[in-house]
C-alpha cells in the first residue's frame, strides 16, 4: 500500500508503509481512542510513580481529620477580600464535633490560607525499590490537603486511590498475559490440528463459557486461604482471572487459524519442508496477532471490573493492600454513603479506565477489520 505524503506544494513523495504503520495511521484517526490512550498512559504513570504523585503515604492516617470532606472544589485564587493570588490556596480545614450526633464537622478557618506548592518535601519513601526521596508532586506547607477527602481513620482518599490503582490497573494487565498465553496455545492447536483434539478442546471451551465467569471467579477467590499475606492473595486472584477467562480468545483464534491454515502460503510453507512449529510461529501467529491484541485489550476492562467486584464483596484483595474495589467496600453501609458521599470517587476511576480500554479495543477492532479500510 502506498500513501501520499506532501512534502511541499510542488513535489509529492510516495512512501511505502508496512502493515503495522498502516494500522497505526488508521488508529490515529480514531480521536476518542487516542485520547483514551493518553488518559491511560497518564493513569499508569501516576500509579507506577505513586509515591511521588500521592501527597501522603498509603497507610498514613491523620488524626482530627476523620471523614474530612474533599477540598478539590475549595481551591481558590481569590480570597474572601477579593485579592488575587497567583498561587492557588485553600482555607485550612478545622474539625469540631457536632454536639448532637458526635460526628466530626469541618469548617474553613478563614484566617489561615494554605498555599499549594509543587515538588514539596513530605513523607520519605522508597519508590520502585531503589529511588529514595521525600519529594511529592504537590502539597501545602503547614496544614493538610485532602483533595478527595479522607476515610474513617483519616487516610487521604486520593492517596489511597493512587496506590489502589496499582492493584486495580495491574491485575488486568498481568491477568491478560496469562489469558493470552493459554488462549493462544489452545486456540492455535485447536484450529491447526483439527480432528479429535479440536473436538475435545471445543467442548471444554463451550463448558467453560457456560459457567458465569464472575461466579466462578468468586468461588475460586473464596478458596484462597484467609491467612495468606495480601501479596499472595493478589497473585492468587491474578492467576484465577487469567486461568478462567481464556476461552473466548481460544474460540475466536481457532476460527481464524482454521481459515489461515487452508490458505496457499501455508501449503507453500509445508511443501518447502517447514516444520510445524515454524509454520505456527512464523506464519500463523503473526497473522492472528492483531486479533489477539484486540481481544486482550477488551479483556482488561472485564478483569478490572471483576477485581473491583470481588474486592468490593470482600473476596478479593485484602488490607494492607488496597484497590479501587476495596475502597468502595465502605459504601456497603448505606449510612456511610449518605453522610460521606465522596467515598464513591474510586468508582469514577474504575469507570474511566474501563471506558478508555473499551474505546481503544473498539478502535483496534475497527483498524483490524479490513472491511473498514
Amino acid at each position: 500500500m502506498f500513501f501520499k505524503r506532501k512534502k511541499s506544494q510542488e513535489n509529492e513523495e510516495y512512501i511505502a508503509l508496512s502493515e503495522g504503520q498502516l494500522m497505526w495511521r488508521q488508529f490515529l484517526k480514531h480521536r476518542v481512542a487516542v485520547i483514551a490512550s493518553i488518559i491511560l498512559i497518564f493513569l499508569y504513570s501516576v500509579v507506577i510513580f505513586a509515591n511521588f504523585f500521592a501527597p501522603y503515604g498509603m497507610l498514613t492516617s491523620h488524626n482530627f481529620h476523620l471523614y474530612a470532606p474533599p477540598q478539590i472544589t475549595k481551591i481558590n485564587f481569590f480570597d474572601k477580600e477579593g485579592n488575587f493570588h497567583i498561587r492557588p490556596f485553600i482555607y485550612r480545614q478545622v474539625a469540631a464535633r457536632d454536639p448532637k450526633t458526635l460526628r466530626f464537622v469541618y469548617e474553613d478557618d478563614l484566617k489561615q490560607k494554605d498555599f499549594i506548592h509543587f515538588f514539596v518535601h513530605g513523607e520519605e519513601y522508597t519508590m520502585l525499590g531503589f529511588i529514595k526521596s521525600d519529594i511529592h508532586l504537590f502539597g501545602v506547607g503547614e496544614g493538610k490537603l485532602f483533595l478527595l477527602g479522607t476515610d474513617i481513620i483519616g487516610r487521604d482518599l486520593l492517596t489511597r486511590i493512587i496506590f489502589g490503582g496499582r492493584v486495580s490497573l495491574s491485575i488486568g494487565m498481568i491477568g491478560v498475559i496469562i489469558l493470552v498465553i493459554i488462549g493462544t496455545i489452545v486456540g492455535t492447536i485447536s484450529g491447526y490440528f483439527g480432528g479429535w483434539i479440536d473436538n475435545i478442546l471445543q467442548r471444554i471451551i463451550e463448558i467453560i463459557r457456560i459457567i458465569p465467569q464472575v461466579a466462578l471467579w468468586m468461588a475460586l477467590a473464596a478458596i484462597i486461604p484467609k491467612e495468606w499475606p495480601s501479596t499472595y492473595v493478589y497473585l492468587g486472584i491474578v492467576i484465577i482471572f487469567g486461568m478462567i477467562s481464556w476461552a473466548g480468545l481460544a474460540r475466536e483464534l481457532r476460527g481464524k487459524v482454521l481459515a489461515i491454515r487452508r490458505s496457499d502460503f501455508i501449503y507453500a510453507a509445508e511443501i518447502t519442508g517447514a516444520s510445524t512449529s515454524r509454520i505456527i510461529v512464523k506464519h500463523i501467529i503473526p497473522n492472528v496477532l492483531s486479533h489477539i491484541i484486540v481481544i486482550a485489550t477488551l479483556s482488561i476492562p472485564i478483569m478490572i471490573i471483576g477485581e473491583a467486584a470481588l474486592s468490593f464483596l470482600g473476596l478479593g484483595i485484602k488490607p494492607p493492600m488496597t484497590s479501587w474495589g476495596l475502597l468502595l467496600t465502605q459504601l456497603r453501609e448505606v449510612q456511610t454513603l449518605k453522610h460521606y458521599p465522596w467515598l464513591i470517587s474510586p468508582a469514577g476511576f474504575i469507570v474511566v479506565s474501563v471506558l478508555c480500554f473499551n474505546f481503544i479495543g473498539d478502535a483496534l477492532r475497527d483498524v483490524n477489520d479490513p472491511h473498514s479500510r
Binding site: 463451550e206 468468586m218 473464596a222 473499551n358
Partner: protein
C-alpha cells in the same frame, strides 16, 4: 430435519455438558483442604450453631462418603439431584438446599428474565433508530451513552442508584424486593403493588450493561443489512422507508442478537448476582455469596451447578428460538 428432532438432539447434547459441569463444580467443592464434616463443625461453631455432636458428624461423613475416593464422593453428592435432594446447607443449620432453592429460584429467574426483556425492549428500537439516523446528533449521543452504560458495572450502578435515591428521592423502595411488613406473607394485591414499586431499581441496575451492548450490536447489524441489495430492491419497489427499515431490514438484523442470547445469559446472571448482593434481594446471588463467606463450599458448588444448568437450558431455548427464526440453523447440525 424437523424442528422436533432438532430439539431432541439439542437436549441429548446438553446432558454430557451438565455432567462435566457437575464434575467441575465438585472439583471446586473439593479444593479447600480438610473434609466436609470438620468444615461443618467449624462453620456451625462460627455461625452460632453451637457444637455439633460426634454422631451427627459421623452421619454426615457417611452421607457424603467423606472417607471414600473422589468418584464415590462425587456420586454420593450428585445421586440425589434428579430426585430434588440437593444436600444440606451447613452454614444455615442444616437447612435442606432444596428448600432454599425453592424459595429463591423463582424470583431469580423472574429478575433475570425481566432484565433480559427490559434490555431487548429498550435496545432494539434504539439500535434501529441509531442505524437509520447514522451520524445524527441523537445517534452520537446514544452511542456515547451506550459506551458509558457498558463501562459502569452493575453493582456500582446499584450503589449509585442507592446514593441518588437517598439524596433526591423517597428511598423506601430501594433494596429488597418488598417492604418489611410483607416478609413471609402470601402474595396479595398490596404485596404485588409493593413488589412492582421495588422492581425498577434492580432491573435497571442489572439490565443497563446488556441494553447498551445490545444497542450497539443492533446498530451495527442494521447498518450491515441496510447495505444489502435486497434493501435496494425493496426501496426500488417503492416501499415506504419505515416498511423497508422495520419489516425488511430489522427482521434480518435481529437474528445475530437472538443467537447471542446464549452469551448474554451468563453475563446477566453474573450481574444479577452482584446487584442482588448489593441490594440484598431474595435471590440466589446473596445465598451464593453468604455460602462463600462462611466457606460452605458444598452449598456454593451446588448453587454454581444449578446456575449452570439454568444457563444450559437458557442456551437451549435460545437455540430453539434461533432455529424458529432462521431455518438454515436446523440443517447445519445434520
Amino acid at each position: 430435519m424437523g424442528l422436533f428432532s432438532y430439539i431432541v438432539k439439542r437436549i441429548l447434547f446438553s446432558i454430557p455438558v451438565i455432567i462435566v459441569i457437575s464434575i467441575l463444580c465438585f472439583g471446586i467443592i473439593q479444593l479447600p483442604p480438610g473434609d466436609y464434616a470438620d468444615a461443618y463443625a467449624a462453620v456451625a461453631a462460627s455461625t452460632g450453631g453451637g457444637s455439633v455432636s460426634k454422631e451427627y458428624l459421623e452421619k454426615i461423613r457417611e452421607r457424603y462418603g467423606l472417607d471414600q475416593p473422589f468418584w464415590i464422593q462425587y456420586w454420593r453428592w450428585v445421586k440425589g439431584f434428579p430426585e430434588g435432594d440437593f444436600g444440606i446447607a451447613m452454614s444455615l443449620q442444616g437447612t435442606p438446599v432444596a428448600d432454599l432453592l425453592k424459595e429463591r429460584l423463582p424470583m431469580t429467574l423472574f429478575l433475570n428474565f425481566s432484565a433480559l426483556i427490559f434490555a431487548l425492549m429498550i435496545a432494539l428500537p434504539i439500535g434501529i433508530y441509531s442505524a437509520t439516523h447514522q451520524y445524527s446528533l441523537l445517534d452520537y449521543l446514544l452511542t456515547f451513552i451506550a459506551f458509558i452504560g457498558i463501562a459502569i458495572p452493575g453493582f456500582i450502578l446499584a450503589v449509585f442508584i442507592i446514593g441518588i435515591s437517598i439524596f433526591w428521592f423517597d428511598s423506601s423502595y430501594i433494596g429488597r424486593l418488598y417492604s418489611n411488613e410483607f416478609i413471609g406473607k402470601a402474595w396479595n394485591m398490596d404485596k404485588t403493588i409493593d413488589f412492582l414499586k421495588h422492581l425498577p431499581v434492580p432491573i435497571i441496575a442489572i439490565g443497563v450493561a446488556q441494553t447498551s451492548n445490545t444497542m450497539r450490536i443492533m446498530r451495527g447489524n442494521m447498518l450491515d443489512v441496510l447495505q444489502q441489495p435486497f434493501i435496494q430492491t425493496a426501496r426500488a419497489k417503492g416501499l415506504s422507508e419505515s416498511v423497508v427499515n422495520w419489516k425488511h431490514a430489522a427482521r434480518i438484523a435481529i437474528n445475530p442478537i437472538i443467537s447471542r442470547i446464549g452469551v448474554y445469559l451468563p453475563e446477566i446472571i453474573a450481574t444479577e448476582m452482584l446487584v442482588s448482593i448489593v441490594l440484598n434481594l431474595n435471590t440466589i446471588g446473596p445465598l451464593f455469596y453468604d455460602s462463600l463467606i462462611s466457606q460452605d463450599m458444598y452449598l456454593a458448588g451446588t448453587i454454581l451447578l444449578v446456575i449452570s444448568i439454568i444457563l444450559v437450558i437458557g442456551n437451549l431455548i435460545a437455540d430453539v428460538a434461533l432455529a424458529l427464526t432462521d431455518p438454515r440453523i436446523r440443517f447445519e447440525l445434520m
